[in-house]
């Protein structure tokens, strides 16, 4: 009975989403105040019904209702409660429901927090979001309902995939989806602008905080995913260029470019068409990712159960929204061309170059991800494009970018002069390189990879360059505008990230050993001693646990526990590594197979500076948060703006 409430709730939500779109888009077109007001109400209603459906599914997991097929396939009597709730989004149908819930949440937030927006504009934004909702609700109810029944209901479930039984599962998908789905908000703002034919400075000011908020979530979501892969998968890798990882990274690159393009549009009213395109691209890449994961055209460890017929539906959605918005763009773009000059060396040029390189990077990743499919579709053979390709190719646009960011941060609008800044920056670059070389040789005793010192140098340079202005203001006891501080913190985060990547890639050490109790092995000066092993019983698994003690020069460093878990139902063995974290390195121990005679195989890893990869991501997101809290976005997120506000306001340096 209760699952049917879920189905009903979804159907009602679908109808309400249709109303939301119609009231919004048609109401705005007809300038009908009643219809436009009704848009906001429908937005709230859609949210409530989707939430209801979500809660119904969660309830089904909590009470072990195996008459729901989805619950039967993804849960188990012995599955702990937290994983039962996380299992709601553990597979295709449930994750779609999460997608739709987050979409309706964003729409709700937009409707509640945008009092300053003109009614017509808000109606168009919510109407567009409603249209997206219609597409996905239709997809869910017609092809992927999580509430299909399994009768007679089994007595026990198939269990959640063991790899997913981890706390990070509770956090990674929701956070990632908030970013992923959040790209639809900027998209909706872009569509609203195109429909109205106007894109002034106030539009940029309205759009920017929403874009940054979604970008923050995406940054955190990707960082979480990388961190989770690192400690759960047991092989210590943090990025594999898997198609689904790429599917989340490309929207991030596009969103980053969008934020920077919005800065120019907000300040000077330029690059409006680029901004529109980037907003459309970010959302398109996000939809593309959804398609790639669920259609089966790509082989990926992340992909949900592949179903070509579902794939066709998502492809239809994809084409409708993307080709539709791009056609709208083609129609509107000529009239949105702006006039305004800037010198070859100026903030505008730097931002343009920045975006060009980010877009190039996204394009390269897209190409590499899709190339096997292209070749296969045209019977040109089967190839694989993996980390060796991406690791090399990705550096081509991004390495110059690291240098550019450090310099470009200090450029000024219209015409930038580096007369006073050139020398300090050059000094920072040189010190960065020297410091990099020092770290390489003093801390790690060797050169590393060809790009190691450049990587360290670039990272240090970025960090110094980012901190320069905030520190200068601090010393002079000047106020710190939050937008500028946010930017500094985010770029500082990028610097941290670069240092982390350089360190790990250059100096990591991996060693597979066979050890019995009392045996030792040494890597990077750390001695690992296998102390003991025993059997352990978990809530839904049996595990073999090993204790490993680590010492350095005789002094104790850590005592690590590593387990190899065998889950009772799904039988996949999973390894839980023991990790010792310090400010400058991780030590990693993963238990392998029993080799007989009391010996076990273990993988020992030394991972220098690896934590800075994710710390960098956190700083990036933090920078975004600080930036959104800037004064100009206060007062219910959006400042009330006179409808006659034009570009003159922007050109006179407001904001």
């Amino acid at each position: 009975m209760i699952p049917e409430i879920g189905t009903l709730a979804l159907l009602i939500a679908l109808v309400l989403a249709v109303l939301q779109s119609v009231f919004g888009l048609v109401g705005a077109h007809r300038n009908d105040a009643v219809w436009m007001r009704a848009t906001s109400s429908s937005t709230v209603a859609v949210f409530l019904f989707v939430l209801l459906a979500f809660l119904v599914l969660a309830y089904g997991f909590v009470v072990h209702d195996y008459s729901i097929e989805y619950v039967a396939h993804n849960s188990n009597n012995e599955l702990p409660l937290i994983y039962r709730i996380a299992a709601v989004w553990g597979a295709h149908e449930g994750s779609l429901l999460l997608w739709v819930l987050i979409l309706s949440t964003w729409a709700l937030l937009v409707s509640r927090l945008s009092k300053g927006l003109p009614d017509v504009f808000r109606a168009r934004v919510l109407g567009t979001l409603g249209l997206v909702g219609v597409g996905f609700l239709a997809f869910t109810t017609l092809t992927s309902s999580p509430f299909t029944r399994l009768l007679p209901a089994p007595l026990d479930g198939a269990d959640l995939n063991p790899i997913l039984q981890d706390p990070a599962l509770a956090a990674h998908p929701p956070m990632l989806y908030m970013g992923y789905v959040g790209t639809s908000v900027a998209f909706a703002f872009a569509v609203a602008a195109m429909l109205s034919g106007r894109m002034d400075a106030s539009w940029s000011r309205w759009t920017r905080p929403w874009t940054v908020a979604a970008w923050m979530c995406l940054t955190l979501g990707i960082s979480l995913g990388s961190w989770w892969a690192y400690y759960v998968l047991g092989w210590g890798g943090w990025w594999f260029w898997d198609p689904v990882e790429n599917a989340s990274f490309m929207p991030w690159l596009a969103s980053t470019a969008l934020i920077h393009s919005l800065a120019v549009t907000e300040k000077r009213g330029l690059f409006r068409n680029w901004t529109l395109l980037l907003a459309i691209f970010a959302f398109s890449l996000s939809l593309l990712g959804t398609f790639l994961v669920r259609s089966g055209v790509l082989v990926s460890v992340h992909s949900f159960a592949a179903d070509p017929s579902r794939g066709l539906f998502v492809l239809g959605l994809l084409l409708f929204f993307i080709v539709g918005s791009l056609t709208l763009y083609a129609i509107r773009a000529p009239s949105l061309q702006s006039e305004g000059g800037f010198a070859p060396v100026s903030r505008e040029s730097f931002l343009l170059l920045n975006n060009a390189l980010l877009v190039a990077a996204a394009g390269l990743i897209l190409l590499g991800t899709l190339w096997p499919l292209v070749m296969d579709s045209f019977n040109l053979g089967k190839i694989s494009v993996g980390p060796p390709y991406f690791n090399t190719v990705f550096l081509v646009p991004t390495l110059p970018l690291v240098a550019l960011v450090g310099v470009g941060m200090h450029s000024t609008w219209k015409r930038a002069s580096y007369a006073s800044k050139g020398r300090p920056l050059a000094l920072m670059a040189i010190i960065g390189l020297v410091l990099g070389a020092l770290v390489a040789f003093v801390c790690y005793g060797r050169y590393g990879l060809p790009l190691t010192i450049i990587g360290f140098g670039g990272g240090f340079f970025l960090m110094a360059s980012a901190l320069w202005q905030p520190l200068a203001r601090l010393v002079r006891r000047q106020a710190q505008p939050r937008a500028a501080l946010g930017m500094a913190v985010a770029h500082f985060g990028i610097g941290l990230f670069v240092i982390g990547v350089s360190g790990v890639a250059s100096y990591k050490i991996e060693k597979d050993v066979s050890m019995g109790p009392g045996d030792t092995a040494t890597i990077a000066g750390y001695t690992f001693r296998f102390e003991s092993s025993k059997d352990v019983v978990g809530p839904n698994y049996l595990a073999r646990e090993a204790q490993v003690a680590i010492t350095r020069d005789g002094a104790p460093v850590a005592a690590l526990t590593t387990q190899k878990r065998q889950f009772k139902i799904q039988n996949n063995p999973t390894t839980h590594a023991g990790i010792d974290v310090a400010w400058n390195r991780d030590l990693f121990v993963a238990l392998g197979d029993e080799l007989g005679a009391g010996k076990w195989s273990l993988r020992l890893q030394y991972k220098p500076l690896v934590r800075y990869i994710w710390l960098g991501g956190v700083f990036c997101a933090l920078g975004g948060l600080i930036a959104i809290l800037d004064r100009r976005y206060r007062g219910g997120i959006v400042e009330p703006v006179h409808p006659t506000d034009t570009e003159t306001a922007a050109a006179t340096g407001e904001g």
């Binding site: 092989w235 300040k267 460890v301 800037f342 190839i383 000024t412 340096g653």
Partner: protein, 145 residues
């Protein structure tokens, strides 16, 4: 309904599940660090054909273990990286290489970084030239985010 490839995959998955213990191979290490480095480099570039989303270095699949053994023996024998890759592609095709070989079909793939950067930077240059010609109001330019 495609039954056979599905069952082939299912079987393939059965003989070597996507183990997450990684392929821990204590017997693998070469005494000579140069050889060991070559072994690690190669096994991290070869795709596991069973799970298809891991390198043979990381995969727990039985076939991955066999392939690692082959690579190890070939390195010990003194085969070059090219010879080892040829051996594997003769049996499994280019699919087994995560680093796509440069050929007529992958030319675009490898030319892409240069092409894309040139393209995007070219657009930037064109835009900057155009904008430099337009009037730049000479009012104060303050920095802002």
């Amino acid at each position: 309904m495609m039954k056979s490839p599905v069952s082939a995959v299912a079987t393939a998955l059965l003989i070597g599940w996507v183990g997450t213990a990684g392929a821990i191979d204590p017997s693998a290490a070469f005494a000579d660090p140069a050889l060991q480095a070559r072994y690690e480099h190669l096994t991290n570039e070869l795709r596991c054909l069973v799970c298809q989303n891991q390198t043979i270095a990381d995969s727990n699949a039985s076939l991955a273990g066999d392939l690692r053994r082959e690579v190890r023996e070939m390195i010990a024998r003194g085969d070059t990286e090219a010879q080892i890759k040829d051996f594997l592609t003769a049996r499994y095709g280019d699919f087994v290489l995560y680093d796509p070989p440069l050929s007529a079909r992958t030319l675009f793939l490898w030319a892409a970084p240069g092409l894309f950067v040139l393209l995007t930077v070219g657009v930037v240059v064109r835009t900057v030239i155009r904008r430099a010609r337009q009037p730049i109001d000479a009012d104060d330019s303050e920095e802002s985010a």
